[in-house]
């Protein structure tokens, strides 16, 4: 059932009747009447524990079957009086309607039985329990936002602590009308579901047709994709082949051939140089071996010099040896001649005068060569010693003469030749390298590598093309088969299209509504911020400091105060009193902004607030358009004060009537009496 939410404007609570509800055992009623806009405030006084909050609970429970906090309902012990009820009388000023909500619970043997009745202009609504509850939500006040209308200091505390957020978001969206639109979307979905059911019914009959259609669509999609892919591959292959042709043309270019030739020559030269170096090393080793006695060739002349010297010495010694031998022989001859007086050689007699001469000669010789044998031995030894050296040197000379330096000289020549060859090859290689540098480093090998890579890619793409062709052929064949089957089944499915179109239309509508919700939130959120800011600036004691109230970002509903210079104070760091002012501003701003004019009922609200804020709140309440019911703490002793005594100047002219909760301490029951404390009408 859909309702226009703004039908529920200006809803006044005119009467509360309770029985057996918490401390109000006897039937107790509070008649608020139909206050005018000039006097719209009702005050109910009571001390702690007398039943103020129970009255707030009565309103909650009466409307929603729930209590405002974790308390419980109590029945009295009298079995004959075991019914509990709350009755709330509302007056819809705009539509001049009287609505009575009566909720009761009977304590039966079988258990509790809860009943809800709604009487509209004297007639009971014939609706089931759920619809009756929906009626309350839609006509009087939705449960989800009731906490912004019926609240006590604890509720303010709770909102202040949370500083807005998800909980607030839901409530705000409800007030913005988002919930109604969401309900519309839900209704659309219900309709959609009906169509879907209808479609499913048809589909059930021709499931095969639909399946075939799905399959056909899927296959067609696959064919499309594969054809696109195939086309892409063909283009790719074409492009690769073009590129390969270009590269091959470059390779075939004369200059490239030249490069190849040069590279080949360079490679050959490198091989030659390596070979020559190896040969050079080999020759060097041979030279080293042969050079170990090359100095002997120089020493040959030195040896020869010494040999000559020795030869001279040997000759001298030989001559001396001969001389000494001759002397020895002469001495022997003279001795024999003197002894025999005749010549031992020719036996000729020697004259006596001559003997004396020979004696004289012998004497002189013996005197001159006194140790002739020793001298001869010494000369002999010298000769032998020098002869040995001579022999050694002679042998060395013979050895040296056997050395053939030509082999070494040939090797050296060969070595020189190889060195020249290496130099020439190196020179040529450098020349070629320089030429190659001009052609670009390894251009040919780069081109060849690129060509190889492209060829590999072409092969790969070709394989894929082949595979795709086969897959496409298979798919087309399958498609032809399905087409044929569909042709046979098609006539029975003409209704399906129509339903499908309706479903699409509903989906579009749903999409549009969702979009509308977003736009609505964007648009009306600002209006809410303006109202909350107005309240905030009226309540706060820092008007000079603060600019406005805001939500911290577009996507969340966290409270944020903005200072005059645009700064955003950390909401976690502001004082608790300020947090409460912010929360209260939001509640009252939301309340004022919303199109719901349900009564505001507050329970012991003022005591927690600073005097400054209390005064500002009193001014706000006195100027409110809604009905205000204040549950106020009062000291029950004689002349006992109330929590709002000091606010009388702002409130008293707006008070329509006042009530006092009286507690019978013995019976532990409460009842209510009308009083005149501030001076209502």
């Amino acid at each position: 059932m859909l309702h226009k939410r703004w039908e529920i404007d200006k809803m006044w609570l005119s009467k509360i009747v309770v029985k057996n509800f918490k401390p109000y055992r006897d039937e107790t009623s509070i008649d608020f009447g139909f206050p005018s806009t000039n006097r719209h405030i009702t005050i109910i006084y009571g001390d702690n524990g007398f039943g103020k909050t129970s009255l707030l609970d009565a309103v909650y429970w009466g409307l929603y079957g729930k209590l405002s906090r974790d308390t419980y309902l109590m029945f009295n012990d009298d079995p004959s009086d075991n019914e509990m009820f709350v009755e709330l009388h509302f007056y819809d000023e705009e539509y001049n309607e009287k609505i009575i909500v009566h909720r009761s619970v009977e304590n039966k043997v079988s258990g509790f039985k809860e009943t809800l009745e709604i009487i509209r202009n004297g007639e009971a609504l014939e609706l089931d329990a759920l619809d009756l509850q929906s009626f309350i939500d839609e006509k009087i006040l939705p449960y989800d936002i009731s906490k912004f209308f019926f609240f006590d200091a604890e509720d303010i505390k709770s909102i202040a602590e949370k500083q807005g957020g998800e909980e607030v978001k839901e409530s705000v969206e409800l007030i913005l009308g988002v919930k109604t639109i969401r309900k519309t979307i839900e209704d659309l979905n219900s309709v959609k579901k009906e169509f879907e059911n209808e479609r499913n019914k048809i589909l059930k009959d021709s499931r095969e047709y639909e399946e075939l259609n799905d399959k056909l669509r899927e296959i067609s999609k696959q064919i499309d994709e594969k054809e696109k892919r195939l086309e892409k591959i063909r283009i790719e292959i074409k492009s690769l082949k073009t590129k390969r042709r270009e590269l091959r043309a470059q390779l075939a270019d004369a200059s490239i051939q030249e490069v190849r030739e040069f590279e080949s020559r360079r490679k050959k030269l490198e091989e030659k140089i390596t070979r020559l170096n190896s040969e050079k090393q080999k020759i060097k080793d041979e030279i080293k071996e042969l050079s170990s006695n090359i100095h002997l060739l120089i020493l040959r002349s030195v040896i020869k010099y010494h040999l000559e010297d020795i030869e001279t010495k040997l000759k001298e010694i030989s001559k001396k040896r001969e001389e000494l031998e001759n002397i020895q022989n002469r001495i022997i001859l003279l001795e024999k001649l003197i002894e025999e007086n005749k010549c031992p050689v020719c036996s000729k007699l020697v004259l006596s005068g001559d003997v004396e001469i020979y004696q004289q000669e012998l004497k002189e010789l013996k005197k001159m060569y006194s140790d002739l044998p020793k001298t001869r031995r010494s000369i002999e030894d010298e000769y032998v010693r020098i002869s040995v050296k001579y022999k050694k040197l002679k042998e060395k000379l013979d050895e040296i003469d056997k050395i053939r330096p030509e082999a070494l000289f040939e090797l050296r020549e060969k070595f020189r030749q190889i060195e020249n060859d290496i130099k020439t090859a190196e020179k040529e290689k450098a020349k070629i390298s320089k030429r190659l540098e001009n052609f670009g480093v390894s251009l040919v090998s780069q081109l060849e590598t690129k060509i190889s890579e492209i060829t590999a890619k072409i092969t790969q793409a070709g394989d894929e093309e082949k595979r795709l062709r086969k897959e496409l052929d298979d798919l087309k064949k399958e498609k032809r088969g399905i087409d044929h089957k569909i042709d046979i089944l098609a006539p029975s499915n003409s209704l399906l299209g129509g339903i499908q179109r309706k479903l699409q239309l509903l989906e579009s509508l749903e999409e549009a509504l969702n979009e509308y919700i977003h736009k609505l939130i964007d648009l009306r959120r600002e209006e809410l911020i303006t109202e909350a800011s107005n309240v905030f600036l009226k309540l706060t004691n820092k008007k000079e400091e603060y600019e406005k109230f805001e939500f911290s970002s577009e996507s969340n509903y966290k409270f944020q105060i903005i200072c005059k210079e645009g700064a955003k104070p950390d909401m976690n760091k502001i004082s608790y009193g300020e947090k409460e002012v912010v929360a209260l501003s939001f509640i009252l701003g939301l309340n004022k902004y919303s199109l719901i004019k349900a009564p505001i009922i507050t329970d012991t609200l003022f005591g927690r607030l600073s005097p400054y804020v209390q005064e500002n709140l009193a001014i706000l309440f006195s100027n409110a358009e809604s009905q205000i019911i204040l549950l106020v703490l009062k000291d029950m002793r004689e002349n006992g004060k109330t929590e709002i005594d000091h606010l009388a100047p702002w409130l008293k002219d707006k008070i329509y009537n006042e009530y006092l909760i009286i507690r019978d301490q013995n019976k532990r029951v409460s009842h209510i009496e009308k009083v005149k404390i501030f001076g209502g009408e």
Binding site: K284, I287, K288, S291, S292, N293, I294, H295, L296, L297, I298, L299, R300, S301, V302, I303, K304, Y305, H306, I310, K389, K392, L393, K396, E399, P405, F409, L411, R412, F415, R416, E419
Partner: protein, 129 residues
Amino acid sequence: MSWGSKGKIYVSSENTKKIYDRLVKDYPQYFPSLSVLFQISAAVGMFLEKKKELNKNVELVNEYSIDKDGTFALILEMMYPDLAPEQRLEELEKFAEAGIEYILKEIETNGSFIIDKFVYKYSKEDSYD
């Protein structure tokens, strides 16, 4: 043939050592090793009958590598019959010192030291002249 307990062959300076190294590096076909160059230097020094005193000893090669067939020892024994083997080796070093100086001078003057020609010419002529 032993040269006593010296064991090493010395040249007169670091600079001379560098000359040895450079010649071996630049003329490997003539001086394939330090030992060969020392032998040639000593032979040249002897041939020229020139010696040069060593002021400072810088190690060049091992003693055993320079006279494996004992020719130097034989000649020096002829030349210095009264000296001890170690002293003869020192004389050999003096010849080598003069010889390397000559070889270097030749290279600096003529751009090369044609040892083949030097050896051939003088070795075939049985004369110092």
